[in-house]
Symmetry: C2
Amino acid sequence: MVKVNNSRSEATRTALMDAALQIISESGVRSVTHRKICSRAGTALGSVNYHFKDLDDLLSSAFSFYVEGVSERYEASFSAARNDDQLADAVMDLIAALSSDKRNAILMWELYAEGGRERTYRKLVRKWSKRAKVGVEGYCSANTATALEAVWDGAVMQRILGDASLPDEELRRVVVAIIQLDSSRRYPADSPVEPAGGRGRAAARRRPPSRT
Amino acid sequence: MVKVNNSRSEATRTALMDAALQIISESGVRSVTHRKICSRAGTALGSVNYHFKDLDDLLSSAFSFYVEGVSERYEASFSAARNDDQLADAVMDLIAALSSDKRNAILMWELYAEGGRERTYRKLVRKWSKRAKVGVEGYCSANTATALEAVWDGAVMQRILGDASLPDEELRRVVVAIIQLDSSRRYPADSPVEPAGGRGRAAARRRPPSRT
């Protein structure tokens, strides 16, 4: 495969990924064909093979492209957290972002179902999950991030499909309770939560901006 | 539609639902056709129309049939709970049951994705969700049941697809923390958790066995 990195080529590549995501959200991963994608994107039938190794490469690129887009919508709120309340707010923002459109959720469940069937998609789920958890892991243990991920994943299902999703205030109480189970949690310019003290050394633990 | 309620007819009906579930788990709800189902079930092509109003009726019956089967595997553990620890154990049993086979999870995500697209399937998700929450609602508020559902739903995703699912002990801590946020929780032969006292009246609140 020869990739031409000019802007017109990039636009076609993006159009093909967009077309794939549209078709997946409408009728599922397994219904995607070269023909449908090119027809939807308005490109010549060979264009998938020109821009991607094969259909799987296109599908996996399309999901990655989508994860990037969703992630950008909530990551800034994580970097600003300086205490439990602000971290809880960031988690609530993420839930709001993931629940804000049905198409996002359908793509997620399509990816999950396909992940249950095929290793390639399972890898994509893990990549998505990792990306989403990085924000929390800046302040909490990996286990806490995983527990919070379970909650936000389930809460998104309830908000999109359920008739009994939790009000924000109740969901936030659960998020705070999980954060507070983690005695290793800490924030920039903050001491470890337990034991108390050590504020004087906080500056040394502040993560330098250059790491982002 | 005329239904013949003899055992042979029931067996065919079940075979058709089983065939539908197999096809859904292999390649998605949208790939199901009359022809595929009858071929898989080894029945004549007209048999779907004989036993079901239409394909949607078959799909919805198949999902209901599946929910029944999964639910039976964990409901007994809820009815036995007499304190927070036992309720947490019951939630852990449910998570174990839902995570015990990939096919279950794939069917669930297929149903979610379809539920995002169509009202009929959304109703089925709600029916499933309601059934799963009944066990918790015997002891806790509807909001607590909903919070626990979010956790178990997310935990099942992590256990089937993730590379970083929570160890049982950590997940159980989260479950217990959510249960303990609910000051209205109570168990048969138990007083309300807050305020303390009132044990003498506990027997009057014990749910009679005839209600089950």
